[in-house]
Symmetry: C2
Subunit: 359 residues, 2 copies
């Protein structure tokens, strides 16, 4: 089945080949080397400073989001959080659960972040800022330069969920001065799900030192201590970590993050142009697109019915939405081992549905 969702996505042959291998024992110098190389390459692709650190947590991206909050924020913080979709809402739930004082900046589904959304909060004593770089649920790519400038002016510690935008859209940890960056194995890294990756700037490391984490499994002090020698406190998803290594090396060999971002951008542009050219009855719902995904509102049929039809009759997955958007929005991802030819097949399936009067 061709997979146009936003994760898990399709993997390269090198990654699949490792999946076919026995998983090795991991308390060895051989595995430590892989982990240290993973750290080095993730730092390189995120443009993190030399004194930044990377940890690999066996959990989903949401686990990574919660880990960031539990280890770097306290009741003495005053956080701002952008809530423009399901993942912004998750940050809000997590801040509530962990009793971190916060203010929510609510955006409508699809709405871009603008200077006027931030201006009311200037000089009001905020200490932290949480956002999705790309709100995956609605495909809105927020203006991180805007947030970065706000944070620099106001002395805010920035936690950025780049789960679905790392390696899809440019991200420069130094330039935006982020404290924590989070991503997952199953997005543009195009490996099986199971690992959340966190890049931690020195500002985050300092906060971690001074924060008591309420959960041992997610305690970054333990993760950091073990990662010094390329290990983890608990048995990690060893297989996925080896696949991540193969994929990072593949990206590096092809020219690095910029080349991978360009490849994704080309696929996204190709697909979006074809949508217009074929006059498909879909409206793009985001004011600010990421290269990772195109969020679409079908005007003539339920989005979820289209997802089912494409799955069951054409052998492809597009990405359904949940909750309120279930019938009104589906998404087409541009991440993973996809080619122009694959998008031609998807467009042909849409054309066929249009020809049959289904859409």
């Amino acid at each position: 089945m061709l997979n146009f969702t936003v994760g898990p996505v399709m993997s390269s042959q090198a990654v699949l080949d490792i999946g076919a291998e026995q998983v090795p024992y991991f308390r060895t110098s051989e595995f430590s080397e892989i982990m240290l190389e993973n750290e080095r390459l993730v730092k390189k692709f995120a443009n993190a400073t030399d004194d930044s650190r990377v940890v690999f947590m066996t959990c989903s991206g949401s686990g990574g989001m919660e880990t960031a909050i539990m280890n770097t924020l306290t009741k003495h913080d005053k956080a701002l959080v952008i809530n423009g979709g399901s993942f912004g809402e998750r940050f809000v739930e997590l801040l509530t659960l962990h009793e971190i004082p916060f203010t929510e900046i609510c955006l409508e589904y699809g709405q871009a972040l603008k200077p006027e959304h931030l201006s009311p909060y200037e000089g009001k004593g905020y200490t932290a800022f949480l956002l999705q770089k790309h709100e995956t649920s609605t495909g809105v790519h927020y203006d991180i330069a805007l947030v970065s400038e706000f944070c620099k002016r106001n002395g805010c510690f920035m936690i950025v969920d780049t789960i679905s935008s790392f390696l899809c859209d440019p991200f420069d940890m130094v330039k935006v001065d982020a404290g924590v960056m989070i991503t997952g194995s199953q997005k543009a890294l195009a490996c099986p799900p199971g690992i959340a990756i966190m890049v931690l700037a020195p500002s985050a490391l300092e906060r971690i030192c001074n924060t008591k984490c309420c959960c041992q499994y997610f305690d970054l002090k333990l993760a950091l201590k073990n990662q010094e020698r390329g290990q983890t406190p608990w048995t990690p998803a060893v297989g996925v970590l080896r696949q991540i290594n193969a994929r990072l090396m593949e990206i590096d060999a092809a020219g690095g993050a910029a080349v991978e971002i360009e490849r994704t951008a080309l696929l996204a542009t190709y697909f979006r142009n074809k949508l217009k050219e074929h006059q498909l009855p879909f409206e793009i719902i985001s004011e600010s697109l990421s290269n990772a995904v195109t969020p679409l509102h079908p005007t003539t049929q339920s989005a979820y019915e289209i997802f089912l039809k494409i799955k069951d009759e054409y052998g492809m997955w597009i990405c359904p939405n949940g909750g309120d958007l279930k019938d009104s929005v589906f998404r087409v991802g541009h991440i993973g081992a996809l080619t122009i030819n694959d998008f031609d097949k998807l467009i042909a399936a849409f054309d066929d549905l249009k020809y049959k009067g289904f859409i």
Copy 2:
């Protein structure tokens, strides 16, 4: 490399074949069916009651241990915990962190659990009991019938870590009246690491309802709610869950848990007999062995040096110990896709080391 560790272990060809496949999109009825079948088969193999539930958490077994404590125990409990090795120690750390009042029953490394260890605590108002069925670090298989009788007499809620003993040694959830049973994907299930499995009896479900979990990612209310339809709240390790399905079906087709346990027992007995027959300079350090592993103290060489030698010169992994036992104990696992022939190769390697005067 032949792998005689206690996890990750060697997988069957059916499991490896799935590792070679693309990971499918999972918010589908097809994946839900796999998850519900996984639940049904785990319940069957653990002999859980029909109204018990199973959840699959994307984390290590230690994550499952912490999840059990966070979701079923409170400050109003008074827990007993057996601490006879690294994993008992982990329970102690977790109870401390989560502020659950507890008393520790400390056993020496290798010591079996006897009635006199429990008798001082009869009728003292204990409400919960935590133990490893098999303390993996030292290979001691505790007498769970003893603990079960104590718990029934004293009204204790039992949390059993069966991480390394599920499908290796007999376990009957109904008979021992356990509240929570925890295992992992990378032990006798012989799949890649990444998933902890928890079987929850009705007594656990009731406790979960009445307990506020301090971590959203590990909140069993959310996991249970989603598993009703064969789903998870967060993106799980989809690939491993599909591999678990293949493996559970493989075990079921071969005759179920009892047959798998018998197969493991045969390998353990074969290896232990060969050790004696070949007069190898190793002493078994456990008073009460599991079929899962044989813990050995080498009398003529550092255990860790033997581990390195076997890895680097014979292409096999035996299982090193950490901490205080690093130089005095190594372990040989009998779980995963191993055969009599594989153990012959390991014995031949030990013979060779003996011939060369290394041991």
